[in-house]
């Protein structure tokens, strides 16, 4: 019952966030955004056509009605048609989101797991050679720009100057072997770039746990290092770690990875968004921005409620 109350309060708290996010998207892209009248009509429009399209787009309505129209678009998930291809935005999204997911997921999971393993090893040998080595690797990984990593990996793995093992671009997937063939290099790029940040963050969390009194007590009682790490520290460290993972999920899934998809020509949400940004295709950008933001708010509420359920200390505090 208490959890339900807590959940209800959290959802209530999320509502102004949802309004705020949609308001910002609306202000930036619709209200202050570009005038779409001429993109929708062809050449040589007549005066009546112009007026008709303007009323259709709602440019003569007051602020709140236009905001209401925007909200209705979101709720019914009907953002209109893409300005460049004329396809319905919702069907575009339905087509591309699974692809983005398939591309981003292996890299995401691998980088989190690898970072966790590296952080555990580093925290265990804190101050030692292994720790310093891993941290240097993490700083270097953090400092190389995404773009540079993509280019280098493409040269090394895909082109004739390097190993020429994987395709430079494309996405023709019909079975698992194809999938691995096409997803290998993008996954490597994602892992390489994410490893630096994640390792440092996880290591900081684990080291903070290691400094706590209960660890010292357990060691004094003779509990083995391994058991402390796996049974106790991991559980406590999981809380900030899993928050971060769940919160970054919407960005990974929906926003797609613009640079990677553009580079490897993978028809996912990222590529669609990239084309939309460069051609000024507003409906798609609107749809992607608002969906991601709303998913993020939902993920936030979700993590708070899940915390409450798994960590009894949160229940006592709130």
């Amino acid at each position: 019952m208490e959890t339900l109350q807590f959940a209800f309060r959290k959802i209530l708290y999320a509502i102004p966030l949802l309004f705020g996010v949609t308001l910002i998207s609306f202000l930036l892209m619709v209200y202050f955004g570009p005038d779409l009248t001429y993109s929708l009509i062809g050449k040589n429009p007549t005066a009546e056509q112009i007026v008709e399209v303007r009323t259709q787009l709602g440019y003569d309505q007051p602020f709140f009605i236009r905001y209401g129209m925007f909200l209705k678009e979101i709720v019914t998930f009907d953002f209109g048609n893409s300005l460049s291809t004329g396809e319905r935005v919702s069907s575009i999204l339905l087509r591309t989101v699974p692809v983005s997911f398939a591309v981003a997921l292996p890299g995401f999971i691998l980088s989190e797991l690898l970072a966790l393993a590296l952080a555990l090893i580093a925290a265990n040998n804190r101050g030692g050679f292994v720790d310093k080595g891993i941290m240097v690797f993490a700083v270097v990984g953090m400092s190389i720009s995404f773009l540079i990593v993509v280019i280098i990996f493409q040269i090394v793995f895909c082109s004739v100057y390097g190993l020429n093992l994987f395709p430079v671009q494309g996405w023709v997937v019909s079975n698992v072997a194809d999938y691995i063939h096409y997803v290998a290099v993008p996954t490597m790029v994602i892992v390489f770039v994410g490893l630096g940040y994640n390792t440092r963050f996880f290591r900081a969390v684990i080291v903070e746990e290691l400094n706590r009194d209960y660890v010292r007590t357990a060691r004094a009682y003779g509990v083995s290092r391994f058991r402390i790490l796996s049974a106790h520290i991991l559980k406590n460290a999981m809380i900030p770690i899993s928050t971060r993972v769940i919160i970054s999920l919407p960005f990974v899934v929906i926003a797609g990875n613009l640079v990677i998809e553009r580079y490897f020509n993978i028809p996912g949400v990222g590529l669609i968004t990239y084309n939309a940004i460069t051609t000024g295709d507003l409906p798609i950008v609107k749809a992607v921005v608002t969906s991601t933001a709303i998913l993020y708010v939902i993920a936030l509420v979700f993590t708070d409620i899940v915390y409450r359920m798994i960590d009894p200390r949160v229940a006592l505090n709130s």
Partner: protein, 306 residues
């Protein structure tokens, strides 16, 4: 009158310690000493200063001025005239790289300073007026801006500002202030309960005066570290934004050079790419190491042998 009561004070048997040679220490003097003992930090600072001197040289008009003149007929390799060669338009790559240093510092400094100032002030106000409507509003704003993915937010701002040259800076500042704000807010909540703040309040000092004269100066160390982090993020984001077409429009930056080079490398021409990426990598890693060393030096809990 008691007989034999002492009329003179008893002489102090133990002499008071001689404190005339003690120096008064503050967080800053201790941090400078700790930093001076960190070889990695000093090396990083030296590298960053070299870049800064280069950028100042470009600002003053001494070096790297000839970056847009078409000087050759297309690609040329490294030669005595063009140290790094020329790009597809015949522009000198060395001059463009040097000019890119200036752009990087421009973007980095503007974004870092403004986002840290805004984040610091809003964070201090939110923390000081904790649990009131002011705090709730600022936290709501922070949550909203966090929810929108960064590159898409910049795209949205670019739409709104109709391709003004500073659209990218505005978008970056609007995203980077939030992490500073949250950290400052946490710290201010702790500072708020310290005794001298309570004393100031009891004396009737106005809230704004307290915030600006007592609270914020105690967050300067946080602001410094956050500023360096923002600087690095700004430079790195600028590269990707320029690749997406949302970045620097007037002038050249490493991002522009890298975007140009994406087509060139598949043809085997690496000059542009190597020049831009090595400069970028060097500056970013030096700044990252400097930020790390700074954070370690300013951390009062990290006790080193002194």
């Amino acid at each position: 009158m008691v007989e034999g009561a002492a009329e003179q004070p008893v002489a102090n048997v133990i002499p008071a310690p001689d404190t005339s040679h003690y120096r008064s220490e503050s967080l800053w003097t201790k941090s400078i000493r700790k930093f001076a003992r960190d070889p990695m930090g000093i090396a990083a600072l030296v590298i960053v200063s070299v870049f800064f001197v280069i950028a100042c040289g470009v600002w003053a008009g001494w070096i790297g001025q000839n970056w847009s003149a078409l000087q050759a007929d297309g690609y040329t390799g490294m030669s005595r005239e063009h140290w790094f060669g020329t790009n597809i338009n015949g522009q000198d790559i060395y001059a463009r790289t040097i000019q890119g240093t200036k752009t990087a510092f421009e973007v980095g400094l503007i974004v870092a300073i403004l986002s840290t100032v805004i984040g610091g002030i809003l964070g201090a106000v939110a923390g000081y007026f904790d649990r009131t409507i002011v705090d709730e509003v600022i936290m709501w704003l922070y949550g909203c801006l966090d929810a929108i993915p960064f590159y898409l937010f910049v795209a949205a701002v670019a739409f709104a500002l109709r391709d003004q040259p500073y659209a990218m800076h505005v978008a970056m500042i609007a995203t980077f202030w939030s992490s500073t704000c949250r950290i400052v807010r946490g710290e201010v909540i702790k500072i708020k309960s310290l005794e001298y703040v309570q004393a100031a309040k009891a004396l009737g000092v106005g809230s704004m005066t307290i915030i600006f004269r007592h609270v914020i100066p105690n967050t300067f160390h946080i602001l410094l570290v956050q500023g360096t982090i923002a600087f690095v993020s700004a430079i790195k984001s600028e590269v990707i934004l320029t690749y997406l077409g949302l970045g620097v429009k007037h002038g050249v930056s490493w991002g522009t050079m890298l975007s140009e080079s994406t087509f060139e490398v598949s043809a085997g021409i690496f000059n542009n790419f190597v020049a831009a990426s090595s400069f970028l990598f060097l500056l970013v890693i030096a700044f990252n190491l400097f930020a790390d060393a700074l954070q370690d030096a300013l951390d009062p809990k990290k006790v080193t042998a002194s």
